[in-house]
């Protein structure tokens, strides 16, 4: 059974939480006691309908203000697969939480209010979906009930998004448009009887049909070492196993590998999981690899195929960055850079540009990047990192920056 991760994004009050509530409600994912709690909470708010948004707005401050502040994770499953929704805040000041929630997603749901049409946030969210290389975007034109389920209105919104989509999208990204009403359950899991003019999939149908080709298994083989297992027991006296999660590609017993950054070569003697011997392991598998010879390998090193002459070792490189901290990014400062499980110091030598994700323009004369801003940087690390170009191999191309003094995660970068 596979897992599909979805991120939702939308502007204030365009009904994101209601949409998720509706999806859960119609897939029988809410138990009776939760529905009862919902009924009484809706009544207390003076509403005469079930306020499905109350299902996800979980923090006290959120219920007070009626908005979503932080990323909530919501789960449902169908016979086909398990779904994990990261419900992310729509407010511009929570863009960092949106990037966070979307970082693992393979599908981005972007909501547009049928009355408002395309707004600034729509452009922002499309850009972020492109920046993160999310392979599928579903634009849900919500609240169709408030525009009398008017086809012309839907088509107009679709048209007005056309040029924006053309600017942000990348090759291979799928984009679809759906007219829906979350409040009345039109086109969520059941066909919209109020919109006979619409012949496409429902939202759930669109999700179920999406096949994310596991291209990761064919990407270059990368195995970052997390932990070295040395039991030093009688039975496993000389055992030395390298534990980690394959970030991309495939490894097989007998493969000749090299350890980076040292470049020492060896051969895979076994791939194990809790005593089970595997012939091969692919991206996403947490395994232990043993080698035929003793090689000096420690946490943060990467195993790649010896034949892979393209395997990167970066010390001086450029990246796109989304800034996540209240204290702005300023050039010249040293941060800790974490790429996968590898940690090294990094100095930002220059901010090359700041992107205006709404206007799709950039300015070059920049001396800082503030919270929620996206830009380009030039940086240098103390030790080389084994990162690929993000657009070519997303699972091995991102890193975070950590402030040495506050310990906060202050930025997320994408190797260019």
């Amino acid at each position: 059974m596979d897992i599909l991760r979805i991120a939702t994004a939308g502007s204030v009050d365009d009904g994101k939480s209601t949409l998720i509530g509706r999806l859960l409600y119609e897939t029988n994912s809410i138990t009776k006691d939760k529905i009862e709690a919902l009924e009484s909470a809706s009544k207390r708010k003076g509403l005469d309908f079930l306020d499905l948004s109350l299902l996800t707005d979980g923090l006290i401050a959120e219920r007070e203000q009626g908005i979503t502040i932080d990323v909530a994770h919501i789960y449902f499953s169908t016979p086909t697969r398990k779904y994990i929704i990261a419900d992310t805040p729509g407010h511009v000041e929570y863009t960092r939480n949106m990037v966070t929630g979307a970082s693992n997603a393979k599908v981005s749901l972007i909501l547009v209010d049928a009355r408002q049409g395309v707004v600034e946030q729509t452009a922002r969210h499309l850009s972020i979906a492109a920046l993160l290389r999310i392979p599928k975007v579903i634009v849900c034109v919500n609240k169709m009930d408030l525009v009398q389920y008017d086809e012309a209105k839907f088509e107009a919104i679709k048209d007005s998004l056309g040029s924006l989509v053309a600017q942000t999208t990348f090759e291979g990204q799928e984009i679809s448009f759906l007219p829906i009403s979350s409040l009345f359950g039109q086109n969520i899991t059941q066909a919209a009887d109020k919109m006979p003019w619409y012949q496409g999939n429902t939202l759930l149908g669109e999700l179920e049909a999406f096949e994310y080709a596991e291209s990761l298994a064919h990407a270059p083989a990368r195995f970052p070492v997390q932990w070295v297992i040395r039991p030093k027991t009688e039975e496993y006296h000389d055992y030395r196993g390298y534990a980690g999660k394959i970030s991309s590609g495939t490894f097989q017993v007998g493969d000749v590998i090299k350890a980076l950054p040292t470049g020492q070569e060896s051969t895979i003697s076994s791939i194990e999981k809790f005593g089970e011997q595997l012939e091969r392991a692919v991206a996403g598998d947490s395994v232990v690899i043993t080698l035929t010879t003793d090689v000096d390998i420690s946490r943060g090193n990467s195993l790649v195929l010896a034949s892979d002459t393209q395997a990167p070792q970066l010390k001086d490189f450029t990246a796109q960055i989304c800034w996540l901290d209240h204290q702005a990014l300023s050039p010249g400062k040293t941060y800790l850079l974490q790429h996968g499980v590898n940690l090294t110091k990094a100095k930002i030598s220059q901010i090359t540009e700041r992107l205006d994700v709404v206007a799709q323009t950039s300015s070059q004369d920049v001396d800082s990047l503030k919270l929620n801003e996206i830009g380009g940087i030039q940086l240098r690390t103390a030790q080389p990192i084994m990162a690929d170009v993000y657009a070519e191999n997303p699972s091995n191309g991102a890193f975070i920056l950590v402030d040495e003094f506050s310990n906060s995660t202050v930025g997320v970068g994408f190797v260019k």
Partner: protein, 306 residues
């Protein structure tokens, strides 16, 4: 739901979840100096122990199991705890809420809803200080409750164990940042993305042992607020609450004073899974401690609860 749709929904355990959780276990061992696994004896913490075993095999689990014993546990749970520690060869540390009460640091609740659930926090924070634990692994899942749905996998707590929803670090991709200042600690939730069904399917597929009270058995119970409570010396009964025998099992395992039983004949894990799917009450609905207020969980977390 009809029986056939229930069977459709059971599905299988998504194996990717196990890979992700093992990855988190290894990050804990690598990033912290003194981690610990908080063990309650419930199915979620039993799952954690299995994941830790898998993460470090053929090595031993490189951190201790810590149990905060309220003194109100089901005897079956304690028996199971000791068996599991022996079976896995893991170090077991037990600290007692009773000691915190005797030292005057915690005060026993009174009234018919009295439980030691809240008091555990005092003993837990003392234990963290005693052993200088910098990371505590717990079995919380995001599907359990609304405030949990917003918590990170690495959740930073201050000197007082407090959680601040607005201070949470962004967690991007699978990169976990466990750097903390002296005195702070991190609560780690490796099965954040599992649902109750995932845990049961995993226990089934892995053929794991679990405490006997998860299966149907005969027990003396009383009925209160439409739920069945296990009769015990720790339960403050009212005059009209007369114990009677019933065939029950437990869906979650907490204290005898705050975990309700459900009537059930299920003696096999397949039937338990079917019952869960057709159950009309969600899992935490059987936890009396959450009913105190709508924001009960968030408030307890702010005070250092798990």
């Amino acid at each position: 739901m009809t029986n056939s749709t229930i069977k459709d929904k059971i599905g299988q355990f998504p194996r990717k979840l196990e890979d992700e959780s093992i990855y988190i276990m290894r990050e804990v061992a690598a990033q912290f100096e003194r981690p610990a696994l908080l063990f309650s004896g419930g199915k979620d913490s039993i799952t954690l122990v299995r994941l830790a075993q898998k993460a470090f095999f053929p090595g031993k689990i490189p951190f201790p199991l810590v149990h905060i014993d309220t003194g109100h546990n089901f005897p079956e749970t304690i028996e199971f705890r000791d068996w599991l520690a022996k079976e896995t060869g893991a170090e077991l540390i037990v600290r007692y809420v009773q000691d915190s009460i005797d030292q005057g640091k915690a005060k026993e609740e009174t009234g018919k809803y009295a439980s030691r659930n809240v008091l555990q926090t005092v003993t837990l924070l003392d234990t963290i200080e005693e052993f200088k634990f910098d990371a505590c692994i717990g079995g919380a899942r995001r599907d359990e409750e609304k405030a949990r749905a917003k918590e990170r996998i690495f959740s930073v707590r201050d000197d007082f164990g407090q959680w601040d929803a607005k201070r949470q670090r962004p967690e991007l991709f699978d990169m976990l940042n466990g750097r903390i200042a002296v005195g702070e600690n991190v609560r780690v939730f490796p099965i954040s993305n599992w649902t109750e069904l995932d845990v049961w399917n995993y226990i089934k597929e892995e053929k794991m042992e679990i405490p006997s009270i998860y299966f149907s058995h005969q027990r003396q119970v009383i009925e209160r607020d439409g739920m069945l409570w296990a009769d015990s010396a720790y339960l403050n009964k009212e005059a009209d609450e007369i114990p009677f025998e019933a065939t029950v099992r437990f869906r979650t395992v907490g204290d005898m004073t705050c975990t309700a039983a459900v009537e059930s004949d299920a003696v096999e894990i397949d039937i338990i899974i079917e019952e869960i799917l057709s159950a009309e009450i969600s899992e935490r609905g059987a936890r009396i401690d959450d009913k105190r207020s709508e924001a009960a969980m968030e408030k307890r977390k702010q005070q250092g609860y798990f």
